[in-house]
């Protein structure tokens, strides 16, 4: 740290006011936008608080699914600086794997089918877990294959070549899946491994009888919402533990910080990168299964928009940061749900991307991002 008193007077930092003239105009514009958004939200909250809360819950459901995908994006980008466009399609493959496992092979009932005396409740839990684990496994294998075949040869190529490759892989997965003998191009009603039940809150929690609507002015939620919530939070905690406490996590952080030096320290960089792809894709597969159960319809381009939103969420929270991805995903979920309810359904993507652009303009590293050091 140089001694400041020795510097000539001209080098003293210019007052902030003179450095950015007219900054108040832009800030005023943002404040007007924020006031407008706050007005819309608060007026609707006052008009009907229960519907507002319901929208918040729906947004949370979406946000927690986005969080599962965003984790993979943020880890992969943090380490190889590649927007892995194929990540959203891996999410789609996860959903389809579970669909075929359930509808073709009845994998969700295997304990009961093998052992007829097995208790039904436990059988559903074990069966569903098996389905989810299978989907995650398939996603991991797929992602590692993609990484080995498509991305690894391009690691030293210009970054744009890798980006185009990622787009190519994404297209390939989408349209190969759309072939008749693979997944078919249609929308497919999803067969859930377990029954979704919903409850409503009205001076206590009551179950909603299937086929009936919940009474007016009540908040309803379903078991899949709770599962998504728990899964997302558990994954977040697990990843925090993995990255902070374990050896492979330290290796991941070292690789993301400086690859050549990490290699000099005896870290197998290729293995770490593969591992990162595997972890991220595994949780994308989990997200795919939960998303399909929650929204009950799948097709081969299912992954594009959630993938994109999740990436936006990761950027919003600060790319490379795990809590950032989580918070960003929740913000995206709320933005989407509230825009759909109170502004305009088709414009939900516009609002999401506007938020991204504004956040990046105000804080270029995202909400939780660390300032980028000068790295080669």
């Amino acid at each position: 740290m140089p001694d400041k008193s020795n510097l000539p007077a001209a080098a003293v930092t210019i007052p902030r006011k003179n450095r950015y003239p007219l900054a108040w105009v832009g800030n005023g514009f943002l404040i007007i936008l924020a006031v407008l958004a706050a007005y819309i939200l608060v007026s609707n909250l006052i008009r009907n608080p229960i519907v507002f809360l319901q929208n918040i819950l729906d947004g949370l459901k979406l946000g927690f699914v986005y969080a599962l995908i965003a984790l993979g994006y943020t880890m992969v980008y943090g380490i190889v600086k590649l927007i892995n466009f194929a990540h959203g399609d891996i999410f789609m493959v996860g959903a389809f794997t579970s669909f075929f496992a359930v509808s073709q092979f009845n994998l969700h009932k295997w304990p009961q089918m093998l052992m007829p005396g097995f208790p039904a409740g436990l059988s559903v839990v074990i069966g569903s877990l098996t389905v989810i684990l299978l989907s995650m496994l398939v996603c991991i294998l797929l992602a590692v294959t993609i990484e080995r075949v498509a991305y690894k040869p391009l690691r030293d190529a210009p970054r744009i070549a890798a980006l185009i490759t990622a787009i190519g892989v994404s297209f390939f997965l989408e349209f190969f899946g759309a072939l008749q003998f693979v997944f078919s191009p249609r929308f497919i009603p999803y067969k859930s491994p377990f029954d979704t039940t919903a409850w409503y809150i009205q001076s206590g929690i009551h179950p909603i009888i299937s086929g009936q609507a919940s009474p007016d002015n009540t908040i309803s939620f379903s078991n899949i919402f709770l599962i998504i919530l728990v899964a997302s939070v558990l994954v977040q905690i697990f990843l925090q533990f993995l990255v902070r406490r374990t050896k492979i996590g330290i290796a991941m952080r070292a690789t993301s910080f400086d690859k050549p030096t990490a290699r000099l320290m005896g870290i197998n960089v290729d293995r770490v990168i593969s591992f990162t792809f595997a972890i991220g894709s595994g949780f994308a597969g989990l997200g795919g299964v939960l998303y399909a159960i929650a929204y009950a319809s799948i097709w081969t381009q299912l992954g594009i928009l959630p993938g994109l939103k999740a990436f936006v969420a990761a950027v919003l929270g600060g790319i490379g940061s795990l809590p950032g991805a989580f918070v960003g995903a929740l913000i995206m979920g709320q933005a989407e749900s509230l825009t759909m309810s109170y502004i305009s359904t088709p414009m939900r993507d516009a609002v999401a991307f506007t938020i991204l652009i504004i956040v990046l303009l105000v804080k270029p590293t995202g909400i939780f991002g660390e300032p980028a050091g000068e790295k080669a």
Partner: protein
């Protein structure tokens, strides 16, 4: 029959490439009459090819002629994208949206005009001119102070643009009723309804569409280009999605019932003749070529190579990126106008962000930073995809269109692995070659060279 068709398609692609080569070779000559002769010859060759027919066999069937128009508009889009991405290094996925914006804008103007409503031309025309003046004025004022944050600049531009737009709408609506009687009836068309005026309106509409797309790209690019390359790519992807959403809801969110939202806009007059398409292609090629070979273009290329070094050389990086982005979008808008008036039907599905990867793939195939590559790849791409693969894959039944999209990512992946700089790399032909200009500069300007050659 299939084999014969495939063979003839390959032949056509080769012939078109030879034609492009000949055109570029002819245009590189210094004298004006040589250039003019080249243009006329090149035009006549294609026209003659259209006419060749032996019984059932047509050298360029109606289908192939349609492909040619598509290829011309695709070449414009690809050239614009190559400017942005190949020469300036900004990864943009919004090019296809500017193409769509141009297409819808031009189509709306001529659609209204043919239905006896001049308000489209008046409002958009006045709006585009006023907006250009307003943006230039604000830009001039903002340059008085250094270091104005981009958000503040954006706010000023936005206010100016909204004001210009309001004035244009009011003025256009006020003037329009005065012109309506001049259209006459369909039985006895008045001055403005005549075929000649309609041709002029068509040309104007395409240019206005380009300018409109350029102004939209200016407003979008100003804040977004400061984000850095990857974030810029994502933001452009978002822009593409938003534009498509707006197109789907053009009759509900936007006040344009004639665009018919997701059902697609029908009844656009099919006014793109081969003359018009050819003229616009030449104009676009010339614009792009002269831009790239100017000092501004060289500055843009230096930004691609190394931003820090370019900054040290005194190049305004943000300004350079913005200018290139605007010029690229202008070119795309013109391409959109040409396309809309050839096809006569616009659907939002055409401008989906998935289709937006097509020009990107063309630019990558043709070679980043090769104008020749972009033009040639556009022609080859359209004929390959629509002519070749469609026939070849129709054997596969209902999956045929999907197989197309399965095969081209694979080609793309292979290309990226084997030859990341594109098929043609940075090769340029004739007119587009850089040394043609450098030679001229060394010889002491064009006049000196001409005299030397005459002597």
């Amino acid at each position: 029959m299939e084999l014969g068709y495939l063979f003839s398609t390959i032949l056509k692609m080769a012939a078109l490439i030879a034609w492009i080569y000949g055109l570029m070779w002819g245009l590189k000559h210094k004298l004006l009459w040589q250039k003019a002769l080249t243009v006329i010859l090149a035009f006549a060759v294609i026209q003659a090819a259209f006419l060749i027919q032996f019984g059932d066999f047509a050298l360029f069937s109606a289908f192939d002629q349609g492909l040619l128009f598509q290829a011309v508009s695709m070449a414009m889009v690809a050239l614009g994208l190559n400017l942005i991405y190949g020469f300036n290094g900004q990864f943009s996925l919004a090019q296809w949206s500017f193409y769509g914006i141009g297409a819808y804008c031009a189509a709306d103007i001529t659609y209204r005009w043919t239905n006896g409503d001049p308000s489209g031309l008046l409002v958009v025309g006045i709006g585009v001119i006023l907006a250009a003046v307003a943006l230039a004025g604000v830009g001039r004022l903002l340059r008085l102070k250094r270091g104005i944050p981009v958000l503040s600049a954006f706010t000023f531009y936005l206010v100016a643009l909204v004001a210009a737009g309001l004035v244009a709408v009011v003025a256009g609506r006020a003037i329009a009723p005065a012109l309506v009687p001049l259209f006459g009836t369909s039985a006895a068309p008045g001055v403005l309804g005549s075929a000649f005026v309609r041709q002029i309106v068509f040309f104007l509409s395409v240019l206005i569409a380009g300018a409109f797309a350029a102004e939209v790209s200016f407003m979008f690019g100003l804040p977004v280009l400061t984000l850095g390359s990857d974030y810029f790519g994502i933001a452009t992807l978002g822009f593409a999605i938003v534009v498509q959403t707006l197109m789907v809801n053009s009759d509900t969110i936007l006040p344009f019932p004639e665009m018919k939202g997701g059902r697609g806009m029908i009844g656009i007059p099919k006014m793109t003749s081969w003359v018009a398409a050819f003229i616009f292609l030449l104009v676009v090629v010339t614009i792009v070529r002269n831009f790239v070979r100017s000092s501004t273009g060289r500055a843009a290329m230096s930004v691609r190579e190394d931003e820090t070094a370019a900054k040290a050389m005194g190049i305004d990086i943000a300004g350079s990126k913005l200018l290139v982005f605007v010029v690229g979008s202008f070119v795309a808008g013109i391409g959109g106008g040409v396309y809309a008036h050839y096809i006569g039907f616009l659907s939002p599905a055409t401008f989906s962000f998935l289709a937006g990867f097509n020009p990107l793939i063309i630019v990558v195939f043709g070679g980043l930073g090769s104008m020749t590559g972009s033009i040639a790849a556009s022609f080859v791409w359209i004929f390959f995809l629509e002519g070749f693969l469609r026939v070849l894959l129709s054997q596969l039944g209902t999956d045929a269109p999907t197989w197309r999209f399965v095969l081209y990512p694979i080609t793309l992946l292979l290309l990226m692995l084997i030859r990341p700089q594109g098929l043609l790399g940075s090769v340029e032909w004739g007119f587009l070659k850089p040394d043609a200009i450098i030679r001229r500069l060394k010889g002491g300007g064009p006049a000196a060279v001409d005299q030397k050659e005459r002597a």
